[in-house]
Symmetry: C2
Subunit: 360 residues, 2 copies
Amino acid sequence: MPSRPERKASLIVHDDRPYNAEPPLGRLRASYRTPAEDFYVRSHGDLPNLDSKTWRLTVVGRAGLTLTLSLDDLRTGFPMAALTATMQCAGNRRADMRAVAPVSGDPWEAGAIGTAEWTGIRLGDLLREAGIAEGVDRHVAFESHDTVDGRPYGVSIPLAKAMSPETLLAYAMNGEALLPEHGFPVRAVVLGYAGVRSPKWLRHIAVQDHPSDNPIQANDYKLYPADVTAETADPAKGYTIETMPVNAAICEPERGGVLIAGRNRVRGYAVCGDRAIARVDVSGNGGRSWRQADLEHEAGAPFAWTFWAADLDLPPGEHELTVRAWDTAGQTQPALPDDTWNHKGYLCTCWHRVRVSVTD
Amino acid sequence: MPSRPERKASLIVHDDRPYNAEPPLGRLRASYRTPAEDFYVRSHGDLPNLDSKTWRLTVVGRAGLTLTLSLDDLRTGFPMAALTATMQCAGNRRADMRAVAPVSGDPWEAGAIGTAEWTGIRLGDLLREAGIAEGVDRHVAFESHDTVDGRPYGVSIPLAKAMSPETLLAYAMNGEALLPEHGFPVRAVVLGYAGVRSPKWLRHIAVQDHPSDNPIQANDYKLYPADVTAETADPAKGYTIETMPVNAAICEPERGGVLIAGRNRVRGYAVCGDRAIARVDVSGNGGRSWRQADLEHEAGAPFAWTFWAADLDLPPGEHELTVRAWDTAGQTQPALPDDTWNHKGYLCTCWHRVRVSVTD
């Protein structure tokens, strides 16, 4: 039984076990839909070794109604749904927050994100089959085959989100079966939410009156104020991270790059949980002045990222390239990591800054 | 025919004609639902003098289908809908942006906002009666009885928003008929959007393939980058302001207030277009440290504001009290007006700062 996926030469590995890795940013920007082998991997435990023929999903719905479904049952029993959407880790860009003060967790650069066409079924269709209707203050709890500290990985999402067309159970990514490290044979894909709420290697789904009491849901992935420490954190007071905030990154050139003076093309991505991107500003001087990037919208917005590009005229010298995006409600990113710093290093959305040297 | 409403002693008047006025912040914070006479008034023209008995609304729906409806037709022909929601001007808090550099428009403080229970019908119910179904890239255009530069006031909203339960045609505010200055007899109430998209004194609604070409829609209420001026602004490139961003204000104490040293209660509001408020941070030292306010959520979120309160221990001296809110996607407000400054002074969301003197 493998404990971690095959190492991909293209990925920067933060941990071997559990396996956590992200692509270099230039590679990430190479295609709108991220190839599965370039897609970041965030694991909390060892890699489960599952057989799609014997895999079963149990669904506890209306009182007394439990479904047990095979992969074929999902494929043939429900309408197929395919959506292009971005998945990202709540810790994406944590490295920039760590530069201000120590934070826990892996030092992700801006590559803990990717976009794919996800194919599967709508979770709402399955829940309706299990006798579930819309309901206030109800939750859908997931359990998976991976284990963390001896317990199955588990999280939950609000029932309204689970019933919306934005939540899938996916068995394919970019038209191919999921790779083992991306949740084979079936994972949840909760559009616009942090990746933690889209569990891989699913085995059990239950509708209940309270959020999951699994430690991943109850204790981890909470947003705290800056003055809260690991010692003083009270999970009941932390805010449960779900929808992701507006964010952007420069993918090309890379940090520390050496450029030739003159016109240089800068490229990157911008994304906002459940809103589309309205504008992207790019600066060649650390944010003292800005120009607007060209946006390459593709089908999928608001739940999929927008690629952007801008030409900057750069004279010889050291320069700080900077980007910030605006969402459709006129909200933009904070200038500094200090503005939203928290000891877990979540939701780092400050202006992404890339220092480069420009030569004649 | 009156050109402006009766002056209310409680309001701070920015213009007499068109009449633009806002309540003092202490009065605004006095009740969760703002009394109609304390509610800010934003007018673009003279006050129409309408008779509810002869008033008619025309609705151009599916090709060949035009409805003409009286107020009684609205009241008796459709299910009644009542929602508590916040309305605010896109220029709310413009005064803080004007402190950085000149901007056009009235210098609204943080009172160009209010919350009411709006009663009327769902616009979607009316549009379905007019033969309209959901449709991509379609728009609902409104025309009103007030005139701006000789033309009727006109704006539009996307059809999807118009069909959602979040859009009303309201004939009552806090249980009473609309006051003349608030749109008697019928106005639109588009939840979460800037007030400009909720026209008062409605007379005509049309479903069409393009946004309204009225200058209010086509030219005004656009968000521009900081380097765009009145001379260089191209409305086709400006972003049409719809959903409002996360914002917060300190209502008590007031700016320049004199307090007694010791524990002082600070109160205000926080709001975010279509998201609920997750957290409010309050600072007694200009943002160098923060504490969390108590939130007084009421029914209505995410489309209605959250009142908050916090106790601060203030020693003698000059202090800058500051507030910032966080929405449910982990987005918060920029520190400075410079961060989002634009020459029209729209969407001012920087930390709200109130200087006070504290004596022994």
